[in-house]
Symmetry: C2
Amino acid sequence: MSAQKKHFEHHLSYVLAAAHRSINQSLTERLKKHGIKIEAWRVMECLDAGERLTMGELADRALLNPPTLTKLVDRMVLDGLVHRKVADEDHRQINLLLTSLGRIRMIQIRQEVDAQDQSLADVLDTTSIDMLREALAKLC
Amino acid sequence: MSAQKKHFEHHLSYVLAAAHRSINQSLTERLKKHGIKIEAWRVMECLDAGERLTMGELADRALLNPPTLTKLVDRMVLDGLVHRKVADEDHRQINLLLTSLGRIRMIQIRQEVDAQDQSLADVLDTTSIDMLREALAKLC
DNA sequence: TGAATTTAATTTCCAAGTCAAATATTTTGA
DNA sequence: TCAAAATATTTGACTTGGAAATTAAATTCA
């Protein structure tokens, strides 16, 4: 009958935060070997995906606020991973591009992320992961 | 046949980060009316759940690193929401306790969180939410 | 017992994030 | 055409978060 709520840990926002924290911690640990942060990896994957992206589009896809992205990109430029190019059509925009070093490093890092995905497969079967992905996507 | 991976947005770590960001943003917005942060709400719910908690236990449950918790608690003490009490048995430990103001404010805030949960029900049915919760729990 | 070790919480210091304002460019419409 | 409004990004002041060091108390065991 009556659904008992009681524990605040049942709130989706809590479970989501907990899972995110846990996954992020283990991924952060893995990427530490490569001297890179998850956010920087996301930026590189976004750039590798093909289309030229402006800082704004990139911020959306890499899940970062624009000022945060600007500062992260400053560091990535120093590290030689990306470079800025003023967009041809609209000079207010910046197209961010992967350097060849950036691409190489990204591919190495991608293997690390794939390894983490593999280890997730031990705890959740493929169907569950697909359902999970689908459900999470609806929340955005 | 061949499962195409291609888009890095399919990584669980990405979908999870995206969903977390989205939910957190809307909840942060709601809680802004109450002048409180999600983390502080979690702390209050943990304290309300019954047992006396030490800072360490609290940090685990509220999903915060100990130094972050200490600083958050400093602010919450200033706001009159909680107070520190040195534990009887072990004087190294601190038991954090809700003040009556803290409890009142927590209950108001809980309604806001419940409202957000309601609005999630519009996008995901009960069964999906249960599955989601269960799958996420396994990731921790 | 009491010196050495372990544990809990906090502090310190620095790196990174946020908000609002500033800058530069493009677009609008009088 | 050109001043005003809108848009993209960055900057700057301030706050927050994290790793490692510090403090204080409890535990171990020689």
